[in-house]
């Protein structure tokens, strides 16, 4: 792997395993990639960092043959190359691990790894060689997986391993990982980084796409920064720092950690007692959960995604009925027998920023001003007339856009035309407008750019200081630790422990998220 044929092609003298020159790609009028230059040295981990919509995914899709560049050239091992399909990419030794796994849950590990390279009409031959290859790879890279297990029985970290093994089995010498730690606990992420290090030692080149600065600093050798479809900088990781990277990403100075004054908790706003609920298949997804939140404090709820946070938020916002237990919001008691709807909750000054803004928070094919009244369309936000007053709604939306700096300032633009950060600002502006007394926030900064993260965090803290009780659910530990006054850690629908915000660190939270309760209960 290390002998790279050195050719002078397109003026590049150095021995890069992968080189891009002036790659452009546009979709309609949107230029997703503008004159991208990228040089990757063999056997390194190269980070690509940028905000959502910076063009990272487009670039990777070009590399993997899912999109074709409009212009520009690509060299692999110095030789000019055209990649027209993912099959081309695979044959050139480029493998990709997608953010959302491309595995068939009902197939075994072996069947998944074989998929696409069955080796003939009968599976027998391919199976034997795949088992051998899996064993070899497992030993080399210290990532053994039982080939006969069903993928649906594996946890997320193991599934990711299967994806990596699948790429390696296809002969990948360049591995593209798209936001690989988004779904992992901190411990699993550490294990992943160990594997990546071993791969690097064995000569595999890794392209790591992420928006997390800490990961870039922790593991990469070099980093390229993208903004607005362009490469704005290349750095050696050892010669840069998170502040510089963040500024390059955003194009201006940013505060990575928002200042947070001491909390002044007041009356109890929400009391949850022995709350429980079942999934449609009868699994217990919330189990005997009890806690309380006071006005003027932020309770962070930490946990690996899918450990009961979603049903909890749905119950508290009135979208779902609890099956067991009860909760009392601002003096209003809710039990499984009560009629409860999101309307009743809104009327009681409970705001809800849902964790999935595309699924719940917005109607993407509605215009911005129509989204600005979603959930409030029966209130006075639609004007004083009996019918919907479009001008009134537009004015209302214009004012919110000004207040929250939502760009572009066009209330008639479809919600889908805004960037992730601006979409989220629309949701935040809407939910905060009526000054809620209790705010349920899920993943407020998922897929949101660094600049908007700073803004949204500031808004949440300001709201807390105005006396709102906030429940913050997030899988981003930095966010939980940065904002929460107390942190409740959940695992399998149960409370593992509740600790004070200042006592939390990635290690003890990570252990608790895995279900190991060692932090002292307060």
């Amino acid at each position: 792997m290390s002998n790279v044929t050195q050719k002078t092609s397109g003026g590049s003298a150095a021995c890069y395993i992968l080189e891009l020159q002036k790659v452009c790609k546009s979709f309609g009028l949107v230029q997703a990639n503008k004159n991208i230059d990228l040089q990757i040295q063999p056997g390194t981990i190269h980070g690509i960092i940028g905000e959502n919509g910076a063009g990272k995914s487009t670039l990777m899709n070009i590399l993997y043959g899912l999109h074709r560049a409009d212009s520009g050239s690509m060299f692999i091992d110095g030789a000019p190359t055209r990649i027209k399909s993912s099959a081309d990419a695979l044959s050139l030794g480029i493998g990709m691990v997608h953010q959302h796994f491309m595995l068939i849950p009902r197939f075994t590990v072996l069947e998944n790894v074989m998929l696409g390279s069955e080796g003939g009409a009968l599976l027998k031959l391919g199976r034997a060689s795949t088992i051998a290859k899996l064993k070899e790879l497992g030993q080399t890279f210290d990532m053994e997986v039982d080939p006969d297990l069903l993928v649906s029985d594996l946890n997320v970290g193991m599934r990711q391993r299967v994806e990596i093994l699948k790429a390696l089995k296809g002969g990948a010498k360049i591995l593209i990982l798209d936001e690989p730690t988004g779904v992992l606990t901190p411990q699993e992420a550490t294990q992943l980084f160990d594997i990546l290090n071993k791969l690097r030692v064995n000569g595999v080149t890794i392209l790591l796409i992420t928006h997390k600065l800490a990961e870039i600093m922790a593991i990469t050798d070099n980093v390229s920064i993208m903004r607005g479809g362009e490469m704005v900088g290349h750095r050696k990781t050892s010669e840069t720092n998170p502040q510089e990277l963040a500024e390059l990403m955003v194009g201006r100075k940013v505060l990575l950690n928002v200042e947070k004054p001491e909390a002044m908790p007041m009356d109890v706003a929400l009391t949850v007692k022995n709350l429980g609920c079942f999934s449609s298949r009868g699994h217990k997804v919330l189990d005997n959960l009890s806690f309380e939140v006071r006005a003027g404090e932020i309770l962070g709820i930490a946990g690996v995604s899918g450990n009961g946070q979603t049903p909890l938020m749905e119950i508290l916002s009135g979208m779902r009925k609890p099956d067991e237990g009860s909760f009392e919001i601002l003096g209003k008691k809710i039990t499984p027998e009560n009629e409860v709807t999101p309307n009743i909750m809104r009327e009681n000054f409970i705001g809800h920023i849902p964790e999935d803004r595309h699924k719940h928070g917005l109607i993407l094919s509605f215009e911005a001003y129509e989204n600005m009244i979603l959930g409030f369309h029966n209130s006075n936000l639609t004007g004083t007339k009996k019918t919907l007053d479009k001008n009134y709604m537009l004015e209302h939306c214009d004012a919110r856009m000004e207040e929250y700096d939502i760009r572009p300032r066009n209330s008639k633009l479809l919600a889908s035309s805004f960037s992730g950060g601006n979409q989220q600002k629309i949701v935040v502006a809407r939910e905060l407008y009526k000054n809620p007394k209790l705010l349920i926030v899920g993943e407020p900064t998922r897929g949101v750019d660094v600049g908007a993260i700073e803004f949204i965090h500031k808004q949440l803290i300001a709201l807390r200081d105005r006396g709102c009780a906030i429940i913050l659910v997030s899988v981003e530990l930095d966010e939980i630790m940065g904002l929460s006054d107390r942190i409740l850690v959940m695992n399998k629908g149960q409370e593992v422990a509740t600790i004070r915000g200042e006592d939390a660190n990635a290690q003890n939270l990570g252990l608790m998220m895995a279900g190991i309760s060692q932090g002292a209960k307060n």
């Binding site: 949107v30 109607i363 979603l374």
Partner: protein
């Protein structure tokens, strides 16, 4: 995950339907040419037959009236992402509302009230016929496409039984109801213009055309100006978000279906009160199904629906004229032309979308470089 810029509104609403229409006419023209007629002459005959010959415009607008009602029915449901294929059945049973209202009120009330009550009752019957599929969709998850189709058959069977049995005109062999009392007749266009001293050629066109125009306006108000319309569109675009917003999704689905059925039920006004003055077998004649194409072509917008209805009205009327004028062009040929239009503007409505989008993008880019 290719990103395609959506077409601008004017292109989506006007240009694309026009292109679809031209494509349909082109294919029909080829067929006409193959059977040995001159496509251009045929087209001229159609246009004259729909708009120019005496009385032809009246016929065209009479068909248009029917298509507006069924088009609105389909479009209302579309806004909630429901596919109401049951316009046919809903319109059919709508006639029962008129028969009921005339039987109950005609002896006691003046004409204007009888007519208004008939309108209300036909809408209510249509609504009731759509309510059950709506309820089943909302509460039981039975797909509304399947149930509305089944309700078409139910309506058909019910009407055959009623018109051949309990409701049959005494002393008649053919399955049709008694004439409705004269106080429930809608004035024809001829009568209407006669009031103002204008003399026009007789045609089935009647005052229900005005009702159709009012319905278009009501539809526009409902969908874009009311809270209910907002809820309907929210449910149609994103049920999860609608639920998050506190909109009762199943209730909205049921309400949407009843409104949809009410629009379809109004078709009976045109046929029963305006033209036949009785309920006859199969008076819906496929208008309900053509309404689907009308809504698709009209992009679920009242203005679009009006013009699409006018187009299909012209096709029905002009097509019949073709049948008269040419020996080799038969009634089936006319059906083929209608079928082509439905195919291109309904089923293949977005076939030219990518190409058009590409061309427009290129034009804009070129324009920008000129600046």
């Amino acid at each position: 995950m290719s990103v395609r810029k959506p077409l601008p509104r004017w292109a989506d609403l006007i240009l694309l339907p026009l292109i679809n229409l031209c494509a349909a006419f082109f294919v029909c023209g080829v067929v006409v040419w193959i059977i040995g007629e001159n496509p251009w002459v045929a087209l001229m005959v159609m246009i004259k037959g729909a708009f120019v010959y005496p009385g032809s415009l009246g016929y065209t607008l009479y068909y248009t009236t029917n298509f507006i009602f069924t088009g609105l029915a389909v479009a209302t449901a579309f806004h909630a992402n429901l596919f109401n294929i049951g316009g046919e059945g809903q319109a059919y049973v709508g006639s029962l509302g008129i028969l009921l209202a005339t039987a109950l009120f005609a002896p006691y009330l003046p004409s204007i009230f009888v007519i208004l009550l008939c309108i209300v009752c036909s809408a209510l019957m249509g609504a009731a016929w759509a309510l059950i599929p709506g309820y089943l969709q909302a509460k039981r998850g039975s797909h509304v496409v399947i149930t509305t189709i089944m309700f078409n058959f139910l309506a058909s069977a019910l009407m055959v039984w009623l018109l051949a049995g309990p409701l049959i005109q005494i002393g008649q062999q053919s399955p049709q109801s008694d004439l409705i009392p004269e106080s429930a007749h809608l004035p024809s266009a001829e009568t209407f213009f006669g009031w103002f001293g204008l003399d026009i050629v007789s045609s089935p066109l009647n005052l229900s055309f005005i009702l159709a125009l009012i319905a278009l306006f009501v539809f526009w108000m409902l969908i874009w100006k009311t809270r209910l319309g907002y809820e309907i569109r929210a449910v149609g675009k994103n049920q999860d978000a609608a639920n998050y917003a506190g909109i009762n999704v199943s209730r909205t689905i049921i309400i949407t279906m009843t409104i949809s059925g009410a629009f379809a039920g109004l078709l009976a006004i045109n046929e029963v009160m305006g033209v036949q003055h009785r309920a006859i077998l199969n008076f819906t004649a496929g208008y309900g199904f053509t309404g689907i194409a009308v809504a698709l072509m009209g992009r679920n917008h009242p203005i679009g629906i009006f013009f699409a209805s006018l187009l299909f009205g012209a096709l029905f009327q002009g097509g019949a004229e073709l049948d008269f004028e040419f020996k080799s062009i038969t009634r089936d040929m006319v059906l083929l032309i209608q079928g082509m239009i439905i195919l291109f503007s309904g089923a293949l409505a977005y076939m030219f979308n990518p190409a058009l989008s590409r061309i427009l993008t290129r034009v804009w880019k070129g324009g920008k470089q000129d600046d």
